[in-house]
């Protein structure tokens, strides 16, 4: 991590779009009156998406005004979290994990791909399509090496990469395609390559009789409200990392039932 400063060249003016304001308001509503500044981090995130992947200085002030907090407090938070980009990034912003597990599995080769296709670390390609930085562990070590690519639509994880598949991925993105997220070597989430090899005996679950759990009723009641609450805000935000976990929990449920 190196010293982070606001970009030298800033847009003359910036306004948060109406759609983004609406989305920020959902977060503001979650907190009691007068505590709207609690929504700063999601608000910064939404604004960053809105502004094309980075936070212009005017956006920090706009949020300060919106959430009724001193600009310096917004600045503190924006500079603290490295996921807030203070300088412009490419349409597709590649965050390449370089921490030990990924590095052992060939992150160094991926770096070379980036350097060839985009430029030195921290740079943006000439056409403005791609930019890349090296980041610390993104928590997908089982699928190392991996990258997270942020763009207007998503913040998808692309896992189990090779220099070839990664190069193709970047080319697809530049070409305007929307590559599927997840492992690029054909395996399903973090299952072993070639498919699952445990808990696969036929009839393993057929003898299990369904038994209502003591908290079953409560659960049933809770579920819809939880979904309703989570639906709105989470829908757009972290679609990528959420999906695998959703699948995992679905898989677990299968096991249980």
């Amino acid at each position: 991590m190196s010293l982070r400063r606001l970009a030298k060249e800033q847009p003359a003016n910036f306004e948060i779009s109406k759609a983004a304001l609406k989305e920020i308001d959902i977060w503001v509503q979650k907190y009691p009156e007068g505590r709207q500044k609690s929504a700063l981090i999601p608000a910064l995130w939404i604004t960053q998406k809105d502004a094309g992947g980075w936070l212009p200085e005017a956006a920090l002030r706009a949020l300060g005004d919106l959430l009724d907090m001193p600009y310096i407090r917004v600045y503190e938070v924006a500079t603290f979290y490295t996921m807030f980009n203070l300088e412009p990034v490419g349409t597709h912003h590649v965050q390449l994990c370089g921490t030990t597990p990924c590095w052992l599995r060939g992150a160094g080769d991926l770096k070379k791909v980036c350097e060839d296709k985009i430029g030195p670390k921290g740079s943006t390609s000439h056409d403005g399509q791609l930019s890349w930085i090296e980041v610390e562990c993104l928590g997908a070590c089982a699928n190392a090496p991996m990258v997270q690519i942020s763009n207007a639509d998503s913040d998808h994880y692309y896992e189990d990469l090779t220099p070839e598949s990664f190069g193709k991925l970047l080319d697809d993105l530049v070409a305007g395609k929307k590559p599927e997220q997840g492992p690029k070597n054909g395996r399903f989430t973090s299952e072993p390559e070639g498919g699952a090899n445990t808990l696969i005996s036929k009839g393993l679950y057929s003898k299990v009789t369904k038994k209502a759990l003591p908290n079953a009723v409560k659960k049933a009641r809770k579920k819809p409200t939880k979904k309703a609450a989570a639906k709105k805000p989470a829908a757009k935000k972290k679609a990528a990392p959420k999906k695998p976990t959703a699948k995992k929990t679905a898989a677990k449920k299968k096991v249980k039932s």
């Binding site: 991590m1 190196s2 010293l3 982070r4 001193p70 600009y71 310096i72 600045y75 503190e76």
Partner: protein, 700 residues
């Protein structure tokens, strides 16, 4: 202190209140705990780790500033928890913390302004290791711009965040922050803008290292070369306790002294940085106007001329005292004028009408510390942030800690706390007096309500009616009772209360300031003796012969026909009475400039030339007479507060009648230019320019 807990500190069992921090408990037991980030008057951050102590049985050393005594678990056998502040563990912990702090701290003590009064330097000597084991590169941090007062050398910063907490909590402007994190963490203002607080200089005192130092004082002196003199500030009527540091007859800096009743341990920027004005624009010789030009003269010539001008008809002579006049010189001038039979005296150069009623009429009776007991405050026609920053700080403190509700009638301005802006005009005050809802309801429900009236209110033509109205409000909302006096006037001139106390006011049939100036225009007043009355426009003196006695070549001296050079507040022993009516003694830090003399001594010499020799030959004799004539001056350090409140009826003040609907004006246009010393200061001019910039930006 109902809830007491026992705790064993270094083998000694003591009993302390449960809400004490461990650090307080250790200090109670006599153990010294080093610290950087902890400060009594700021919130607790707990990030420097220097205050680690050992809690026997706990797996790790504990930060004593952030752990409360009530959170200590007793030992298994039920005996009080054992705390060690001098064990091997503690020593090792301190050495470790110190080593980490010094890793990135430059070894530039020889060129650092903090050298000699640096917490890090002192504590490294006391608690650090003797040598460094660090071989790698140290980090360097870009210096930040923080305005004309605070110089930054950010590489020295140890991120204690005292400045961030002070500016946010005490000054109330949230302008400094800690950006980035980890090794890149740096203290900055947003986009390196100037600090806009009038209290910003205090971060220099708070900074435990040399990261934030005084810009005007940069590389001027080492602390051990300076001669400290305790004194009293005169920039406003608060009477902040200050330490004047001088070397070789020059004032080099001004620092605050702790006085819990007045300024706690802060001072305003004007108080702190005005010292460069003490060396500029000084009157160091007597001057006589010859052919329209002031030319240097000898003392004898000057005093002879003054005496000849004062010998005429007393009806044609007047004396005015300015805002920086010390008590003794005003007393000497009053005695001289009494001797000459002059009745046209006034110490209220702003044309205020205060001073005819009981003493409570013009004092801040609640006292500054008393604000902390208040739960509702009505401000009328004042901007305490500009007129008395330390009173404002106290109001903010009470607003944060207690549940003080504040209402404002007057010009809306950012006071650093939430106010209920009731209105801007005198009619709004009238409405409030009759109302039973809104802020009136708050006042009614309050236990200790108070009203704070700006001094400027009493310069209005309808001041008597407004005073009566304010008195009626005070009466209606029970602001005055035997143990609480919530009727307050916020004075802005350091000399004013003393002048009013000694009756430096028109005698029977005498003229007040406005009448004197009117008569001067007509030619009825032929000679005006101005004791530092610098806030009166030159043209207002008409054709009168003006004798100006003062320290700075400002408005008053420009108009003068005869200039008698006096001493500035740092150059004389003098008594000052602040807005609470508290008498305080200031001391001479440096001698008067050039041929200038002590003000009382000039008047004593003049009295001899006039043939009306004053009956005192020394300052002590003068004071003895002052105390005999006006016993209030003898109560040094004492503020009357609610004394005599049972006999004080605010509703009898002033005159009942219709008030004008005009908006209340403010006493101060520019905080940094309120007196001749400040106007002579380059630093104050720089600060004022920053303020103008901010204003024009805000207007855009």
């Amino acid at each position: 202190m109902s809830d007491l807990r026992k705790v064993n500190i270094d083998g000694e069992e003591i009993e302390v209140p449960a809400d004490y921090t461990l650090m307080q408990a250790c200090e109670e037991a006599g153990a010294e705990i080093p610290r950087f980030c902890y400060h009594e008057r700021l919130s607790i951050a707990g990030n420097c780790r220097m205050c680690l102590v050992e809690w026997v049985g706990a797996p790790k050393p504990q930060a004593s500033c952030a752990l409360q005594v009530k959170d200590l678990r007793p030992n298994r056998d039920g005996t009080p928890a054992n705390i060690r502040t001098n064990s091997e563990t503690v020593k090792k912990a301190r050495e470790g913390v110190m080593e980490f702090l010094l890793i990135n701290h430059p070894l530039d003590c020889p060129i650092c302004d903090q050298g000699g009064e640096c917490d890090l330097q002192d504590q490294a000597m006391a608690y650090g290791r003797d040598a460094s084991r660090f071989q790698e590169n140290k980090r360097a941090v870009d210096d930040k711009f923080m305005g004309p007062l605070v110089k930054t050398i950010m590489t020295r910063c140890i991120q204690c965040t005292r400045c961030v907490r002070f500016i946010t909590e005490v000054a109330g402007v949230s302008e400094i922050g800690l950006a980035s994190r980890g090794e890149d963490a740096e203290i900055t203002t947003y986009l390196e803008k100037s600090l806009t607080s009038e209290m910003s200089g205090n971060v220099i005192d708070l900074c435990p290292v040399g990261a934030l130092t005084s810009k005007p004082y940069a590389f001027n002196a080492r602390p051990w070369e300076l001669e400290p003199t305790e004194s009293i500030d005169v920039m406003d009527a608060v009477g902040s306790n200050i330490r004047v540091d001088s070397r070789g007859g020059r004032v080099l800096r001004i620092l605050p002294i702790i006085n819990e009743d007045i300024n706690e341990e802060w001072i305003s920027d004007k108080t702190r940085f005005v010292w460069d004005g003490l060396g500029r624009q000084r009157l160091d010789k007597p001057y006589i106007r010859k052919n329209g030009k002031l030319t240097a003269a000898s003392w004898d010539e000057a005093l002879d001329l003054a005496a000849s001008k004062l010998k005429g008809d007393p009806e044609g002579i007047a004396a005015l005292a300015g805002d920086l006049a010390d008590t003794e010189s005003m007393k000497a001038l009053k005695d001289l004028m009494d001797g000459l039979g002059v009745k046209n005296l006034d110490c209220r150069q702003d044309g205020s009408s205060l001073g005819t009623g009981p003493r409570q009429e013009y004092l801040m009776n609640t006292t500054i510390a008393g604000i902390e007991r208040a739960d509702a405050l009505l401000i009328v026609g004042a901007n305490p942030r500009m007129e008395a920053p330390l009173v404002n700080t106290r109001i903010r403190k009470t607003w944060i800690e207690g549940d003080l509700k504040i209402g404002l009638i007057g010009e809306a301005c950012d006071l650093t706390y939430d106010v209920d802006h009731i209105g801007a005009t005198a009619s709004d005050l009238e409405k409030l007096a009759k109302s039973n809802s809104g802020f009136a309801k708050v006042l009614k429900g309050a236990k200790n309500p108070m009203i704070l009236i700006g001094a400027n209110v009493f310069t209005r033509a309808d001041s008597a009616q407004i005073q009566n109205l304010c008195g009626a409000i005070a009466k209606k909302f029970k602001m005055v009772r035997a143990d609480w006096n919530g009727y307050n006037v916020l004075q802005t001139a350091a000399s004013r209360v003393a002048g009013l106390d000694m009756g430096f006011l028109p005698g029977k049939g005498g003229k007040d300031t406005n009448a004197i100036l009117k008569a001067a225009q007509k030619g009825d007043i032929k000679t005006i003796f101005s004791l530092g009355a610098d806030e009166i426009a030159e043209v207002d003196f008409g054709k009168a012969f003006v004798i100006y006695q003062g320290s700075h070549g400002d408005q008053g001296a420009h108009r003068a026909d005869l200039v008698l050079p006096g001493a500035a507040y740092t150059e004389k022993d003098a008594l000052w009475v602040n807005t609470e009516g508290r008498v305080q003694m200031g001391f001479m830090a440096v001698p008067p400039k050039g041929e200038a003399k002590f003000d009382w001594a000039i008047l004593r010499a003049l009295s001899e030339k006039c043939g009306r020799t004053l009956p005192y030959d020394s300052l002590d004799e003068l004071r003895a007479k002052l105390f005999a004539d006006h016993p209030t001056f003898a109560g040094l350090g004492h503020a009357p507060g609610a004394e005599g409140a049972d006999k004080f009826d605010p509703s009898k003040l002033g005159k009942a009648g219709k008030v004008k609907a005009d908006a209340f004006g403010l006493a101060i246009d520019d905080f940094y230019f309120t007196n001749p010393i400040a106007r002579a200061s380059q630093v104050m001019a720089d600060c004022s320019a920053v303020g103008d910039e901010t204003l024009s930006e805000a207007a855009e």
